[in-house]
Subunit: 299 residues, 2 copies
């Protein structure tokens, strides 16, 4: 079926997962969590965020977490950075990679960043330039790629325009996000087909949320379309800020099941990842919702 | 993408869902549940089972349920029938269609039916013949098509052999089940490609369990491969007898989301189906696990 031999998984649980959990997880627990992730074989871990703690209090300890973690060889420890002030803190924390973010839909960008899409580029450009000048790779998250909580459908041309602008800016990898988890596989297939004519797909990651239970089908559609980079959150940590109680990121442990059974390498030890999730669950104050964790509990 | 204009959904919650719930749901609640399902537009409802109540006590009231439900025009009310004795009770209940069952793997068939696969056919044949003689369509469930709790992998040739035998017997439609929810999309694609050479795909339904979170991806793979019939359980009612706490059938309400967004008709009113699930949830003693229900609660 033309599946790739391997895929790259970016574990976003420590950042995207935790920022959507209500509980503040103690700094030393976060540090142990991230160490357990690298021990399990994850090679791309989004550790935290340098968005102002006023907005994401759960990740107010970003610098301490970065200073506390073991730096495993070959692992890229990244962080979310909103602007130049955030980048200063990221440098201080010695991040390995910088993740910037914006939305594909105008109104989500406005609500989330308090700027229009056009006004956002001049904020991001110096961040990208400084990061690259410091030798750090840059990932660009594009939110609301498959649907917007305020506008509904998002035009593919609008997505392509944002993608092009970020790549022109020097961003190395784009993570296209279904922020509110509304996409169905046809949307993935169509978007990737369009993108493949303009962009090397090796620079595109897909970032699905499972609000409506479509994430795994969308991963499959992405894989068939030639995508080899996927984001996930171990245990299904996190949630959806627009639908309280709904699922968050696609669960990395469920992704690991898929890829293992497909014979596609991830570099991650699935059993060890599950044990790490079972350990971390004790610090989250709720049962982690991934399918793999449910099976583990039932055994 | 060559999607069909419409698909047929068989709602198996009242049978496959309830038989995996620990609580006995009162007969009048079951009757109202099924009436609400037909009101919502479901046209194929598996109402109950005539397997001996010793094995499935949750469905001991099958005859009463059949006698109590409103018979909506155009709706096929089916029931599971294990043998000729069960068929007598099914006739007494005035079922519209008969569902027989067996497994694709020898050891699951042995444990579930207490017979080898070869010994099972002579038990099923008279059931099929009597049902057909009475003018009733017959559906054949084949369990463990994509994996067996005792044997692991199941050979595609073994599946094809069972499929052929049942079709030769006069079974109208086969529902191929991933009983323990272990399949990944490549298995679906490969099996359907093989089947399509021997069998009209219009006679094949797919029946996924979501144990490892793969059900929706497998539905998508099935749809791409030309399958137009899918089983589901509204709200995600049910569970997996081999993995306590794990997911049951793919949630029909999540299927309805998929098909609605794909523009594929199901004949079911999604909003009404969700309201029916929200009503039924009160009788189940636990929160129904579908994604659509989580979103509904969060709104």
């Amino acid at each position: 079926m033309g599946l790739p031999q391997s895929v790259v998984i970016t574990e976003v649980g420590p950042r995207d997962g935790l920022q959507n959990e209500s509980l503040f997880v103690a700094t030393d627990k976060k540090i142990e969590w991230i160490n357990r992730l690298s021990d399990a074989g994850f090679r791309h871990i989004e550790v935290s965020s340098f968005v102002h703690p006023k907005w994401i209090p759960q990740l107010a300890d970003a610098v301490e977490v970065f200073h506390g973690i073991k730096r495993a060889k070959g692992v890229v420890y990244s962080a979310l950075v909103p602007n130049e002030r955030g980048l200063e803190r990221a440098f201080e924390a010695r991040v390995d990679a910088v993740s910037i973010f914006m939305s594909a839909s105008e109104s989500h960008n406005q609500k989330n960043i308090n700027k229009s899409i056009r006004e956002t580029y001049p904020v991001l450009r110096p961040v990208v330039e400084s990061a690259k000048a410091a030798g750090l790779p840059v990932r660009g998250y594009v939110s609301t790629v498959f649907g917007c909580p305020y506008e509904g459908n998002v035009d593919v041309n609008q997505v392509l325009s944002v993608v092009d602008s970020l790549l022109d800016m020097g961003v190395d990898e784009l993570s296209l996000g279904d922020t509110i988890g509304v996409a169905v596989p046809t949307q993935v297939t169509e978007l990737i087909a369009r993108l493949s004519k303009e962009v090397p797909l090796s620079r595109i990651a897909l970032h699905f949320h499972d609000t409506y239970g479509m994430a795994m089908a969308n991963v499959w559609a992405g894989l068939l379309a030639g995508i080899e980079r996927f984001d996930g959150s171990l245990g299904g940590l996190g949630g959806c800020p627009y639908a309280p109680g709904a699922s968050g990121n696609v669960a990395t442990d469920d992704l690991l099941y898929l890829f293992q059974k497909l014979g596609v390498e991830t570099g991650v030890n699935r059993e060890q990842a599950l044990l790490a999730a079972a350990w971390f669950e004790q610090n989250v104050g709720r049962t982690l919702p991934s399918h793999a964790m449910s099976v583990l509990r039932g055994q």
